[in-house]
């Protein structure tokens, strides 16, 4: 099956007065139809920046470089801004973190919904309105006709996020990118929104990139996971594999931070990872995690830590031999 999205060697650089920052470094992954890939990491790990880079929505100062970026078999890297604009909103829908600020305050919900459809489809206003009503109903918003004429500030956060989801689905996209879609919402709303996203994904058979810092969310919703740290993917595997057998010390540390009910895995104590994600500049080499890693050795300072691969496509970027390596076939990944 051809992947919906193929990303190879995606990097982002931001030149500043003192140094060139590298918030995304050599990110590669595939996304298959109907699949949910989760990008996980702490804030500052580059997961949102990766999504913006794919969409060509980076801030003005940022420079993107990519070896290969293919969407539905088409090369995106060589496309003009106008051509990518035709895909955004039409074939790729995006849901952002903060629904309180992501809708334009001076236009009605209906105006903002219909606008996408009118832009990408050769449709009349009436058709656009019908599509908007249909989708507001799909995202379980009661009384959609009323909501259509309301302004964003008249809606609660949960409703606004539903509107954002409806907006992302207006043109029937093949891919939906959800950037921490529930972080700004309260806990009860969070699971409703995630359940909604999953059921819509199945109904419309879309691929999804789910960006989150919450491994609990990942465990429930993702098929595959890419763990990001300081701009790099440090581990990539199917969700089950990753949760069962984390190979990278960072993944292991992240998993240690999650409370497991009824488990005494860590003697009842919850761990946290000391320190913060460093900013990587062009001069930096070696494993970015080594300063916070319990197992760091001199070899971790060396440049070019390669991605290694276990069976089943389980990849990780660490020079330390995994403790349970005896029973898995190891091969070096170029």
């Amino acid at each position: 099956m051809n992947p919906v999205l193929e990303v190879r060697g995606l990097s982002v650089e931001i030149p500043t007065a003192s140094a060139t920052l590298r918030p995304v470094r050599d990110v590669s992954f595939d996304l298959h139809p109907g699949e949910t890939l989760s990008l996980v990491g702490e804030s500052g790990s580059g997961k949102s920046m990766t999504a913006l880079a794919i969409m060509d929505l980076l801030p003005r100062q940022a420079r993107r470089s990519v070896e290969r970026l293919r969407f539905l078999g088409e090369d995106l890297a060589g496309k003009s801004a106008g051509e990518i604009g035709r895909l955004r909103g039409a074939e790729i829908g995006m849901v952002f973190q903060d629904p309180m600020t992501s809708l334009n305050p001076v236009y009605t919900v209906g105006n903002q919904l219909m606008e996408v459809y009118l832009r990408h489809k050769n449709a009349s206003k009436r058709e656009a309105r019908e599509r908007a009503l249909f989708l507001l109903d799909k995202v379980n918003i009661p009384d959609p006709a009323l909501r259509l004429c309301q302004y964003p500030h008249q809606l609660s956060g949960g409703l606004r996020q539903r509107v954002m989801i409806a907006m992302a689905l207006m043109c029937g996209p093949a891919l939906i990118i959800a950037d921490e879609p529930t972080t700004a919402l309260d806990v009860t709303t969070q699971s409703q929104i995630l359940d909604l996203l999953r059921s819509l994904q199945r109904e419309f058979h879309m691929a999804m990139i789910l960006i989150t810092h919450d491994l609990g969310v990942v465990a429930h919703f993702a098929d595959r996971v890419s763990v990001m740290y300081a701009g790099e993917i440090v581990e990539q595997a199917s969700t089950d594999d990753l949760l069962e057998r984390p190979m990278h010390p960072y993944t292991a540390a992240l998993l240690d931070c999650i409370p497991v009910p009824g488990s005494s895995r860590h003697g009842g104590k919850l761990r946290s990872i000391p320190g913060v994600v460093p900013l990587i500049t062009s001069g930096d080499q070696g494993c970015a995690f080594r300063r916070r890693c319990d197992h760091a050795q001199d070899v971790c300072k060396n440049a070019g830590i390669a991605m290694r691969e276990l069976s089943g496509g389980h990849k990780f970027r660490c020079v330390l031999l995994p403790q349970n390596s005896a029973d898995v076939a190891m091969k070096n990944h170029a």
């Binding site: 990587i280 500049t281 300072k301 060396n302």
Partner: protein, 298 residues
């Protein structure tokens, strides 16, 4: 060869003062402003040394001599002479004293009024804030130039009256900005902490609030000083500000109005003087704002 990640501490060892000096050297606007203001200030202070000519001495034989760049110009009067034969350069030099004095005094008076009102309104909020906001609204709705002209005319014009009138009028920006800044500071944790320990309000205002307002105060002070200098020149231009024979730059432009056809330099020279001084003060203010509080930069 492996290089280590830069430690956060390496980036922070520079003191605030060092950082200010390092950045100020790079800020062209700030340096230009500083140079212009320093120039005018030293001219004002050294006025009697800089020029041997009496700015008030009339010499009707030597009327309207053009400045040195004209063919008929003479180095005895580098900027020429006015319609009474007074040396224009020395009038410009002595005029700088009037502009700076008025600017400084008005700034102090309006700064005291405005920041007092602003701090009180922002700190106490509620009804007190509403009353002060109302006073600010009333002040803003009065046409400054018109009322200042009327007051100066009805009371009688002198330097003191002009300083007082402008000082009583130009406090609005101080009040508005300081009120907003105080409001913001009042919500900060360190102020809340001080309140929790039972510190009296006066102590909190003096020790916690005011020191944190100094940057904003400096910036508005420069803006208001520039504003005062411009308004003084306008009042003097209309004949209701500084009175002759004092060499106010605005008054010099007014006195030269009739010569606009044949001796336009009589108008351009004092105008350029006002322009450079006000530009310098504004650049200085903008520079201080950029250097001390980059987040205030629009």
């Amino acid at each position: 060869m492996a290089t280590d990640l830069p430690a956060e501490n390496d980036l922070l060892i520079e003191s605030a003062g060092q950082a200010f000096r390092r950045r100020s050297l790079k800020n062209i606007g700030f340096m230009t402003g500083l140079a212009l203001v320093a120039l005018v200030a030293s001219i004002a202070m050294l006025a009697p040394i800089l020029t041997a000519q009496d700015p008030y001495l009339q010499n009707l034989d030597q009327r309207l001599i053009p400045p040195f760049w004209h063919l008929e110009g003479t180095w005895a009067h580098p900027f020429g002479t006015d319609k009474f034969g007074r040396d224009y350069l020395s009038r410009i030099i002595h005029g700088s004293r009037i502009s700076l004095l008025i600017g400084l005094f008005v700034m102090v008076i309006s700064g005291l009024i405005g920041s007092t009102l602003g701090v009180i309104a922002g700190y106490f909020g509620g009804k007190i804030d509403a009353v002060i906001m109302y006073i600010i609204t009333v002040r803003l709705s009065m046409p400054v130039v018109l009322v200042a002209l009327a007051v100066v005319s009805f009371v009688g014009s002198s330097l003191e009256v002009i300083v007082l009138v402008l000082g009583l009028f130009l406090w609005d920006r101080f009040a508005v900005v300081i009120r907003a800044a105080t409001k913001r500071l009042r919500g900060e944790d360190f102020v809340t902490a001080a309140r929790c320990t039972g510190c009296p309000d006066s102590q909190i205002i003096l020790r916690e609030i005011i020191p944190n307002l100094m940057n904003q105060l400096t910036v508005i002070a420069t803006l208001e000083m520039a504003q005062a200098i411009l308004l003084e020149s306008a009042l003097s231009f209309l004949g209701l500000g500084v009175q002759p024979p004092l060499p106010s730059w605005g008054l010099m432009i007014a006195e030269a109005k009739e010569f606009v056809f044949f001796d336009p330099w009589l108008i351009t020279i004092p105008g350029v003087a006002i322009f450079l001084l006000v530009l310098g003060i504004n650049l200085l203010g903008d520079g201080i704002r950029d250097l001390t509080a980059p987040e205030m930069k629009n």
